[in-house]
């Protein structure tokens, strides 16, 4: 019988897959708050762990799309990755210097934007 902690992580993984499959958003959107609510994670640990989980989720999706359907434009994707990587390096550095609860408030703002986008879609 798996521990309740393992079951919570399994539920978080399933929810992340469910929502990203249904709406194209939902990996980090559900992983970060559920790690905070269910496992008592601090905001920084939740966001770092979420990014590592997204590596796996994205790889599984990219392999399915790229391998089966050939829809991945590798060159364009890698070019767009250069400025995006610059952004994430700056973003993580800034995150270490702001209060953790500010991360929660930023996240809530992002969620409200996602909800509005879903409603007006």
């Amino acid at each position: 019988m798996p521990s309740s902690r393992t079951l919570k992580l399994a539920a978080i993984g399933s929810a992340a897959g469910l929502f990203s499959g249904l709406f194209g958003v939902g990996g980090g959107t559900v992983i970060v708050p559920l790690l905070i609510f269910w496992l008592g994670y601090g905001e920084r640990l939740a966001t770092g762990t979420s990014l590592a989980a997204i590596v796996l989720i994205g790889l599984l999706g990219a392999i399915a799309q790229g391998g089966i359907y050939g829809n991945v434009h590798v060159g364009t994707g890698l070019l767009l990755s250069i400025p995006a990587v610059g952004g994430v390096v700056i973003g993580t550095a800034v995150q270490q210097r702001i209060p953790q609860r500010a991360v929660s408030l930023l996240f809530a703002a992002l969620l409200i934007a996602v909800a509005v986008e879903l409603i007006v879609r």
Partner: protein, 125 residues
């Protein structure tokens, strides 16, 4: 030229969001690829996965260096995510898409409310 510049700026914003709040940034990468770089919706969504993986690898490595990463938990979440994809396909066949979107919007707003409530009820750290 203008389109390429806007795509670069949106990509930077997507990366910033990844670093600040731990999301992949696909919400921003998909329009950068489709609206500004001319990919179709399917190509844009697929290619955004590649950008997300690159950003998430670098972001996770940076967070690991700062001491903010639980690799075991992350691996378990990632490995079990395909279960949810299967459930999603089943749900999409049973429930109208609009009802799913509105339910998810409601859920997301509840989560936002709870995050704000908790953040404001504790002292800054």
């Amino acid at each position: 030229m203008m389109n390429e510049l806007l795509a670069v700026l949106i990509a930077i914003a997507g990366g910033l969001a990844g670093g600040l709040v731990g999301v992949g940034g696909g919400v921003l990468f998909v329009p950068a690829l489709t609206v500004f770089l001319g990919l179709s919706q399917v190509e844009g969504e697929s290619t955004s996965l590649l950008v997300i993986v690159v950003v998430a690898v670098v972001g996770a490595a940076r967070q690991n260096a700062y001491g903010n990463l639980n690799l075991r938990d992350a691996a378990l979440i990632g490995v079990l995510s395909p279960l949810g994809v299967l459930a999603g396909v089943a749900a999409a066949n049973e429930i109208p898409q609009r009802a799913l979107e509105l339910s998810f919007a409601g859920l997301v707003l509840l989560i936002a409310y709870e995050l704000i409530r908790r953040a404001l009820s504790r002292t800054p750290d």
